[in-house]
Subunit: 147 residues, 3 copies
Amino acid sequence: MKVSITSGRAEGPTKLNAFDNALLDANIGNVNLIKVSSILPSGTEVVPIPKFPAGDMVNCVLAYTSSDVEGDLITAVVAAATSDDFGCVVENTGVNRDLEDVKSEAKSMVQYMMDIRGLKIKEMLMADETHIVKKQGAVVAAVVYIG
Amino acid sequence: MKVSITSGRAEGPTKLNAFDNALLDANIGNVNLIKVSSILPSGTEVVPIPKFPAGDMVNCVLAYTSSDVEGDLITAVVAAATSDDFGCVVENTGVNRDLEDVKSEAKSMVQYMMDIRGLKIKEMLMADETHIVKKQGAVVAAVVYIG
Amino acid sequence: MKVSITSGRAEGPTKLNAFDNALLDANIGNVNLIKVSSILPSGTEVVPIPKFPAGDMVNCVLAYTSSDVEGDLITAVVAAATSDDFGCVVENTGVNRDLEDVKSEAKSMVQYMMDIRGLKIKEMLMADETHIVKKQGAVVAAVVYIG
């Protein structure tokens, strides 16, 4: 299994379009995303995000939040931990929360998931995105399963 | 890729059953629906909805809303735009909103998605359904990916 | 098609971790769950839950609820009905509701789904889980599609 980690942010005229624009900013706007929960198979390799054929069905763990309140600070984070065996992924989001807090919360959650499974973390990968809303903003962070 | 566009509405004794009845009314009640986001691959052909084997796993973009307030007007809409390259799909719903408003909002959202990708719309396809709630009502509209 | 029915409950330091721990308790914590709606193909066989390779993509119908209020009684139920043709599945959850009520509601909902399709129930299978929250609790019940 190969996975990519990515994130994006955008404004848009509607909530849906801001979300779509954020997906485009993250280079996953031209595929059909299927949300899954949160395990990396053994031997997962992290690679740069490929150029998917438009309309591909793509499994992903997705952190997403949006707001239409001017000045809101919105944040989306994914954290992926690998081990010599399999790995775990968490998503986390925040509105008007410090980025470092949202990231550190994601880190502890994935650390806990690994601990409880008896897995020793080899590598911790994160993607995060913040955005200060103008009119209608969205942020996404994602772990994308490539196959 | 072939897709079908469909919609349905129903009453039911519970929220879950009203939803299920609306799916049956849309001819997608006997499959396992997997929700995806919103791109039509290049060369997508729109066909009448086929008779799926019961229990098939079927990817779809789904607009769904429900209400248990007598007299509520509930609406579900999907709009799909095709081009010479790939296409885009949006879902939209409304409670006590004019059908034409919900449809026109869906149209502008998908138009915006196509514009931002530099895609010229060849065809715009919509499905919509409205229902005035008696006790527990549901409406669905869907773009179903057939494979 | 083979399916398994399972359930689990747990506490955890965060909502996400309590959910993840409940999935582990249900033996579906090490896979990527994809939520689907609710039909069992003809000839479905119910089997004990297998040991999935970590990170498998697994379709499921999932009932899930959580609470961080000490003393809350949380409940998750799935009910699956089979016939000589295909079958139906419902999920149901409750907070501070009698387990038997949540189960009996699930039973009537799946009974109704079978009736409306003209299917005669051969077997009714249920999984249920209740938990009294200490700090942050979660319960899950699931029908897992094995393939």
